[in-house]
Symmetry: C2
Subunit: 94 residues, 2 copies
């Protein structure tokens, strides 16, 4: 399994719009076991994204999906940057 924990920063006042885009464009991604977005209560522009993928290859492939490409294009103008980023190896219940 492959996992990611990251914090994305929206431009001021655009967090909810960015959250909506992230939720809209990431519904159907092959190999995606979990994709959760969350507000950072300590930063009005912070969004935590925690992901679990069957493999890293599935994650890489998802970046080429039309829906994800559309989301990235729409989101780019309201993304101010990226903060923490951790790769993980999820272990699921057998």
């Amino acid at each position: 399994m492959y996992g990611l924990i990251g914090r994305m920063l929206s431009v001021d006042g655009q967090r909810d719009a960015l959250l909506d885009l992230l939720l809209e464009g990431t519904g159907e991604m092959p190999g995606c076991v979990s994709y959760i977005v969350a507000r950072d209560p300590k930063d009005p522009n912070g969004i935590w994204i925690t992901e679990v993928w069957e493999t890293q290859a599935h994650h890489m492939a998802s970046l080429k999906l039309p829906a994800v490409q559309t989301t990235i294009a729409k989101a780019r103008p309201i993304i101010a940057g990226f903060a923490e980023r951790f790769e993980t190896e999820p272990v699921l219940r057998s």
Copy 2:
């Protein structure tokens, strides 16, 4: 929604034993929407835990569940400490 992202440190050589305990004792927790444990590829003792709860109260209540209390007691001797800890406000797809 209430979420947690944290990194727990096992004592040397005990990460897999700690992972097993975490998976074993956290299966049935009221209000738990997601509970994922993962190895930290950069730290042989690091375990990332990402949680989503319906409410913070559900999370607090879970700490009193017999199964969780048993897990905590079993795990305590092989937990060396805690590193990063972030609280979040998950936003789920409608």
